[in-house]
């Protein structure tokens, strides 16, 4: 094989690459420097447009607690992580993250669902309500709290409180779905929300009171 001049393309037999050795070294040393840089330098580099390629993101438009938002998310981001990590709506809790505990229950188009088992990209065009928006989003008799929130306080429907936002969102769904007609039915239709403190009796009382009060939830 003939000797190549120093800047000749490494391989252009099938037109794969027109990159020269010099280009390759320049790029690779830049990436090495980037990886070893303190974060302040990396931030500066990113602002200068030198950031490495990002994973594909998708634009979505969703209404969250009455506010319309345009967001850019990787397809693998769950609705739960979008709410908590990008929007600082940390009222929705991450319990198990595998659909077993109900702590992440939110309303999607008014229906209770698990945010941990929902990809954010699949919520495009939908209306999401979290515990932060429940009182605001609904016609509420109380000035600050949704009737279900008030009932949970009145009946001691919690102890540590970690499962409570999910319990309340689920309880509202339980009534809307027409499945809060007896203690047994409430227990069955609330069984997707686990409470390790064991506040179940208070929760059933709270759901029953709101249901019997006949307020629109």
């Amino acid at each position: 094989m003939e000797n190549r001049p120093p800047d000749s393309p490494i391989d252009n037999e099938e037109g794969h690459s027109q990159e020269t050795r010099r280009d390759f070294l320049k790029h690779s040393s830049l990436l090495t420097a980037y990886a070893l840089s303190p974060s302040s330098l990396v931030n500066a580099a990113e602002m200068n447009g030198l950031n490495p390629p990002q994973a594909d993101t998708v634009s979505i438009h969703i209404d969250i607690n009455g506010t319309s938002r345009t967001l850019h998310v990787e397809p693998r981001v769950t609705l739960l992580d979008l709410l908590r990590e990008q929007l600082d709506l940390t009222g929705t809790k991450k319990g198990c993250d595998y659909g077993q505990c109900g702590a992440c229950t939110v309303h999607i188009n008014g229906i209770r669902a698990l945010a941990c088992l929902s990809f954010a990209v699949m919520q495009n065009g939908k209306k999401i309500t979290t515990i932060e928006g429940l009182a605001k989003a609904e016609a509420s008799g109380s000035a600050h709290l949704h009737p279900m929130q008030a009932a949970f306080i009145k009946h001691d429907g919690f102890q540590c409180g970690y499962c409570t936002p999910g319990q309340i969102m689920s309880a509202v769904g339980c009534i809307r779905e027409g499945h809060a007609n007896s203690d047994a039915e409430i227990k069955e239709y609330m069984s997707g929300n686990i409470c390790r403190c064991g506040a179940y009796e208070g929760i059933v009382e709270a759901v029953k009171e709101v249901k019997q009060g006949g307020q629109k939830v």
Partner: protein, 334 residues
Amino acid sequence: MNNFQYTQPATPKASIDALVKEPTAQFIAGGTNLIDLMKHGIAAPKTLVDINNLTLRTIEQQGNTLRIGALALNSEVADSKLVLEKQPLLAQALNAGASAQIRNMATVGGNMLQRTRCYYFYDTAMPCNKRQPGSGCGALEGYNRIHAIWGTETALTGRTSSCIAVHPSDMCVALAALDATVLVSGPKGDRRIPFTDFHRLPGDTPQIDTNLDRGELIVAVDIPNNAFAKHVHYLKVRDRNSYAFALVSVAAALDLNGSTIQEARLAMGGVAHKPWRLTEAEKALQGKPATTATFEQAATIAMQGAKAYEHNAFKVKMAPKAIIEALKTAAGLG
């Protein structure tokens, strides 16, 4: 979780094309099982084809058939007036499964395609022939309390299959009992699959759960009219009262003329790699009086061929009791 390409086609054909294009691509509807599997590193599709824009959500009576669209939600089907009137067994089975939130998300087609909850399948540190063909089975010699008692021997040689996992669905047990048919659409066109042929026994290829071809999309499920509506019961025995998978479950349906059984349907869940239809027991019920004695006899016939492993022998005792109980309740003797 690995990132993936996301696409949301507008038609069944475009969805099928998108799936065929990428060998690892999967359809996603409710996502309640697939996202869980992706988080566990068991499924890693490079493309997800979101089929939620397809108009496959209708529940309607078409002539002598109740047709349920593949995208109808589990909760919609369970609460449907048409289903409650025509096929209450299906509504009972659906309400016995998962939680209210999951039923609000999960679809009929997705429910059919959910994968086993065998703990060795979920634990990626353990061998599993279903997850990684040829790696072995953790359950055969392991803690096999929740595993199969039927269909675990290969048809040709009679030796034990390479997997003893069970299918987890409740809905599918009712659909198997009710003579349902699955409507699918695929690269080669449309076809109909009898429900009892939809899921497979494990044999030596337990990684394949169903008889769907690559790229085939479930479009709907048809249930033919029947005379069972007044006498049905879905009995689910589990470790806690709600929100748990079945140890054993029974779907029982009777067509009674006075106290004589005109026809019977019987299927079980939690006992095999697929919903387990008990046709011999059904035949034994036909024409007999609906009495406890008849049901005990049918249960004995039903249990033929059951085989226990080290930790699930209790299922062989529990299953006939569950059959008798379900039939008694269906007949109004409960």
